[in-house]
């Protein structure tokens, strides 16, 4: 037997930050607004919860400025569950992120669902010990976020709609652009980096490895077990469900069903069984009917 404890311990390395996302893979991260909802989500099999004041559907309905949640609410949720607790900061609002880090949240989502605080810059995520997840609609955006220190990416979709179309568009786009990079020779990658607006070393790494250097989840519009199966088959490594669970008729049952469909996404018989008798899905909005100013996915630079 060897005794340790005197070895140097490195915290907050990129391996440790992206490592938690690795452990969330194949799972469902659920938006919750109260400790009671967090307990329901955990009991239904959520691999993490996103603590926020209002789910995206309500933010969309209420309008106004959407901000980081009250620390008391986040702490109440942390006390209620043992699974990782994530929370959202506004794009570029590094002071909100500092507060969330002080609260010891497990992951910060620098999120377009909240009203952006900076119209040009995102948070310097390397400056934090707590890992960040960021949204992306395309590969260039994903690599810019990773360049800034994000340890996990989620495709944005269109939050709070219950419409899967943009999630599909964004996932397919990211994967198409990944495939395209793989076909390029070394000289073409310089131009690709310029066109993507992404750091060259990351473009070169992605071209070599054929995948993002961090875990890719899907968010924004997942409302049913079949939606989860669809995006998993399109290459998502897990899903975020925001309004889709607690805005549905039977949240507990739907949560369990989406968890099951995410595990068995390649097995249509299991997805069918999970989809049966769930009651009403969330009240939904067709994304194509939203004006450009109502689409959240365009936030992020």
């Amino acid at each position: 037997m060897s005794t340790n404890g005197h070895e140097p311990r490195q915290e907050a390395t990129f391996t440790v930050k992206s490592g938690l996302a690795e452990m969330l893979k194949g799972g469902v991260i659920m938006d919750v607004v109260t400790p009671e909802e967090a307990k329901i989500a955990e009991a239904a099999g959520a691999c993490a919860v996103m603590a926020l004041e209002r789910v995206p559907a309500d933010i969309r309905r209420d309008g106004g400025v959407a901000r980081m949640s009250d620390p008391e609410m986040i702490q109440g949720i942390q006390a209620a569950v043992t699974i990782p607790v994530m929370a959202k900061a506004r794009i570029g609002h590094f002071a909100e992120a500092q507060v969330l880090e002080a609260l010891d949240v497990d992951y910060i989502d620098e999120s377009e669902v909240l009203t952006p605080a900076d119209e040009a810059n995102h948070i310097d995520k390397w400056a934090f010990k707590v890992p960040f997840v960021c949204g992306a609609t395309n590969l260039g955006e994903a690599l810019r976020r990773i360049g800034e220190g994000a340890a996990m990416i989620r495709s944005k979709g269109e939050a709070g709609t219950g419409d899967i179309v943009n999630a599909v568009t964004h996932l397919r786009r990211i994967n198409r652009e990944l495939r395209r990079l793989r076909t390029m020779d070394a000289s073409e990658l310089y131009t690709a980096a310029k066109e993507l607006g992404s750091p060259l070393p990351l473009v070169q790494q992605v071209a070599r490895e054929g995948r993002l250097p961090v875990v890719l989840f899907c968010a924004g519009g997942i409302a049913t077990p079949a939606d989860a199966s669809l995006v998993m088959q399109l290459g998502a490594e897990g899903v975020f469900v925001g309004s889709g669970i607690f805005k549905s008729g039977d949240p507990e049952r739907r949560a369990r069903a989406i968890v099951e469909a995410t595990t068995h996404f390649r097995d249509p018989a299991r997805v069918a069984a999970a989809s049966t008798g769930l009651g009403a899905a969330m009240e939904s909005i067709e994304t194509a009917k939203l004006g450009a100013d109502q689409q959240l996915a365009g936030r992020g630079w």
Binding site: M1, N4, E11, L24, G27, A44, D106, V259, E260
Partner: protein, 193 residues
């Protein structure tokens, strides 16, 4: 230590209900094993060894119940080698499947900002270990060998052909544990006990 390829036809399953199963599968594949994902009891049939990966233990626990995997995994572990990491270690403890005579403490080091990596001294060598919201072993029985400790708490144990680690060798490119698992599955090897 052996970086050689596994003998042809060694079938290793990776529990794939949720969590870090892909990284384990990639390492096993690189070592030449015939790797498959385990989500239902049928998926265990014909396997020579099993990996219980990290992930969220509550999710894995619910999944094991939902799929009716508890008894099949216990029976499998009775006659086959198993490598468990992090949440996989928790699944094998007294409070869950009862395969190992240990009690674990979840998130023993604290929340994510307390996650860390370090070099563990290991039988004259070192193992680079990544701890993510990791558990430790708080109680263990006489049949359990403690292989490594951090802060005075066991973080690696062995009982018979079952090895359980609180950390993630699959995240640091550490392949020796998988190599040993494959060797156990083919019959006869041992490493650094």
């Amino acid at each position: 230590m052996n970086d050689g390829a596994a003998p042809a036809g060694v079938r290793v399953g990776v529990l794939a209900l949720q969590g870090g199963f892909a990284a384990h599968a990639a390492i096993l594949d690189g070592l030449g094993a015939d790797v498959s994902e385990v989500r239902t009891p049928d998926d265990l049939v014909g396997l020579d060894a099993l990996v219980m990966p990290g992930g969220e233990s509550t999710v894995m626990s619910l999944g094991i119940v939902r799929e009716g995997l508890a008894d099949p995994i216990v029976r499998f572990a009775d006659t086959h080698p198993v490598l468990a990491t992090c949440a996989g270690m928790i699944m094998l403890d007294r409070d869950h499947l009862g395969v190992l005579d240990i009690t674990t403490q979840r998130n023993a080091f604290g929340r994510q900002v307390k996650s860390f990596e370090t070099d563990l001294a290991w039988g004259g060598d070192t193992v680079h270990a990544v701890f993510i919201r990791a558990p430790w072993v708080s109680e263990w029985g006489a049949a359990v060998d403690v292989l490594a400790e951090v802060d005075g708490h066991p973080v690696a144990v062995r009982q018979g052909a079952i090895t359980a680690l609180a950390f993630h060798p699959e995240l640091s490119g550490e392949r020796r544990f998988h190599d040993v698992l494959i060797a156990q599955a083919t019959g006869s090897r041992n490493w650094s006990s």
